[in-house]
């Protein structure tokens, strides 16, 4: 798996931080290049209040880019919704920090009752349940944070260096640049890659891609450019990239990027 190289910090506040499911989320975040810090209060009898104090201290000292926060901090009545109290403190003191909250109240009126009072209109808070896959957690965090990364991984074999405007083929720990993809071809690839990074599955409509094409038949021009992109990458990788690989035409609507599986 390609590692994005960016200095993003995330604080995890969850009393079940040692559970396999949380460990798998942390591992996935580490693979994404996040610096993860888990809040672990000291002492034998740890309560929700202890987590609250430690969490606010960690946010103050670490200045994270995001917080992953659980609602529930134990079976005691006061701890069952402790996360909402912590969320309220974060929103009041650090309104710029996005919070992704593990909650059973993902849907339904209970969610509104449970969280409405804690949120300001511009709070960057999202909700996800604990059965979510680590991949889903990562996708939600990407969207919540909103800023573009410096590198975009496309599956296991490709990486886009956004600043240098270069596409790399990753093969056995070597990164080989695809020199033939530059200028407009790079812009097309970057448009598709960044959409895939933020919103997997989203089709980039023809209307948005038309600015990269020319001539009397813009769609035909686009088709040619995409064919050239695939051929350039295929040449570096030593494979043929077919019509249904990497960049896919979706039923006359537009194109979307998919991970390249070999």
């Amino acid at each position: 798996m390609n590692k994005e190289k960016f200095d993003r910090k995330i604080i995890i506040v969850d009393d079940e931080w040692q559970s396999p499911i949380l460990r798998s989320v942390k591992r996935r975040l580490d693979e994404e290049g996040w610096q993860t810090k888990v809040v672990v209060p000291e002492g034998l009898m740890i309560s929700g209040d202890d987590f609250e104090v430690e969490a606010m201290f960690a946010i103050e000292s670490e200045s994270p880019d995001a917080v992953l926060l659980d609602v529930r901090f134990g079976e005691h009545r006061e701890d069952r919704f402790k996360g909402l109290s912590i969320l309220r403190n974060i929103v009041e003191q650090y309104p710029h920090i996005p919070v992704l909250m593990f909650t059973q109240y993902v849907q339904g009126p209970d969610r509104e009752a449970a969280v409405t009072g804690t949120l300001k209109w511009d709070s960057r808070v999202d909700f996800i349940d604990k059965l979510a896959s680590p991949e889903e957690v990562v996708l939600r965090l990407r969207r919540l944070i909103g800023t573009a990364p410096e590198t975009i991984p496309i599956g296991a074999y490709l990486t886009v260096d956004v600043n240098a405007k270069v596409i790399y083929v990753v093969n056995e720990n070597r990164s080989l640049p695809v020199d033939d993809i530059m200028g407009t071809k790079f812009e097309i690839f970057f448009e598709l890659a960044s959409t895939m990074y933020r919103n997997p599955g989203e089709v980039v409509p023809f209307s948005k891609l038309m600015k990269y094409s020319e001539g009397e038949d813009p769609r035909a021009s686009l088709r040619v450019r995409i064919r050239e992109i695939k051929d350039a990458i295929g040449n570096v990788m030593g494979v043929h990239i077919g019509a249904n690989d990497l960049i896919v035409n979706v039923r006359g609507q537009g194109y979307r990027m998919v991970s390249l599986d070999l």
């Binding site: 559970s19 396999p20 499911i21 949380l22 460990r23 798998s24 591992r27 529930r72 059973q104 993902v106 849907q107 339904g108 009126p109 209970d110 969610r111 349940d129 604990k130 059965l131 979510a132 896959s133 680590p134 991949e135 889903e136 996708l139 939600r140 969207r143 919103n199 997997p200 599955g201 989203e202 089709v203 409509p205 209307s207 948005k208 896919v248 979706v250 039923r251 609507q253 537009g254 979307r256 998919v258 991970s259």
Partner: protein, 325 residues
């Protein structure tokens, strides 16, 4: 009501002390009366006082219990039957919330362990993973969104049964809802070598006035079904006209036979039940989805083309008013 019950409980405790005081006086009277009173009237005076206190205390406690029973007994007239229904819904919902976390706990452990084992096996170059083990792990991962949906379906069903459940509208971004649902199913699709594509037309779709939870629940049910029955492609399309917005979920599966179409939205119906086979789903998803859609002023319809047509597919169309009711 709560305050009255609290007052009665305090009163009960007070009367209990009175009973105790009376009993103590009765027991102590032989020793104290001679010292306190010059004349002894047949029975020590303190005994009289003690017995009176004892009886009064007992009477007070009994009365407190009787009042508490009266307050706890539901007083329903025909006008208050709806209140009892909503109490049932509230109580059932609260119990469900209580168990939801506990119901999810074993699955979280199983899922978490499966993911750990998968990572460890991936990282170990020496170990060859058998196909059966991979299948098992994939099956566990595939069932996770299904389980989440079942829990959500039960919760929604409880709310739908409530006659007093209000319909509320708020500004909603349908695009965000579809994004979240696709996030949930993306890795399952990838593992099953299936593709989910989605788009909005216009691409800058904007807000509608509806209920985000209802939309999310309906579309999740439809995407979940599509994941199960598609061959390899699922498409989700968001469009609108001047009065309504539409979310269409299309899959390239084998299609639904025409004789099943009339039962599709029946509560509890599944094609396996018709064939007398073991049910692989609850049969609640489409029933709940359509009920929710109609509750919010819209509808849910289906059309399908079966094999051996080249264009075999199934498409569900959710339509909802742009501006609420």
């Amino acid at each position: 009501m709560k305050k009255r019950i609290q007052i009665l409980q305090v009163t009960k405790i007070g009367f209990a002390f009175v009973v105790l005081g009376g009993a103590l006086l009765v027991l102590a009277s032989p020793f104290l009366s001679e010292q306190l009173f010059a004349n002894v009237w047949g029975v020590e005076p303190l005994t009289y006082v003690g017995v009176v206190l004892f009886v009064l205390g007992l009477a007070g406690i009994s009365a407190s219990y009787a009042f508490m029973d009266m307050l706890n007994e539901p007083q329903y007239s025909s006008g208050e039957e709806n209140k009892s229904d909503s109490d049932w819904t509230t109580i059932t919902g609260q119990y469900f919330d209580l168990f939801d976390h506990d119901l999810g706990r074993p699955l979280r452990r199983i899922l978490g362990k499966q993911r750990e084992v998968r990572e460890n096996l991936k990282g170990s170059q020496d170990t060859k993973i058998s196909d059966d083990v991979l299948d098992l792990m994939d099956e566990i991962e595939r069932q996770a969104p299904n389980f989440r949906l079942m829990l959500a379906n039960i919760r929604i069903l409880v709310q739908l049964e409530s006659p007093s459940e209000k319909v509320e509208f708020q500004p909603v971004e349908p695009v965000q809802i579809v994004q979240k649902i696709v996030d949930r199913y993306m890795h399952v699709a990838h593992d099953s070598k299936k593709q989910i594509s989605w788009w909005a037309d216009p691409s800058e779709f904007g807000l509608v006035y509806s209920d985000s939870s209802a939309i999310e629940h309906i579309v999740t049910n439809l995407v979940d079904n599509a994941m199960r029955f598609c061959t390899s492609e699922i498409e989700v399309r968001i469009t609108k006209n001047p009065t309504h917005f539409f979310i269409r979920i299309w899959d390239d599966g084998g299609g639904i036979p025409s004789q099943y179409m009339q039962h599709l939205f029946d509560r509890g119906w599944t094609p396996e039940a018709t064939r007398r086979e073991e049910k692989i789903s609850s049969g609640l998803g489409l029933f709940i989805a359509r009920t929710l859609a109609r509750k919010y002023g819209g509808d849910l319809t289906a059309e399908s083309l079966t094999e051996p047509n080249d264009d075999h597919h199934t498409a569900f169309l959710l339509s909802l008013p742009l501006a609420g009711d």
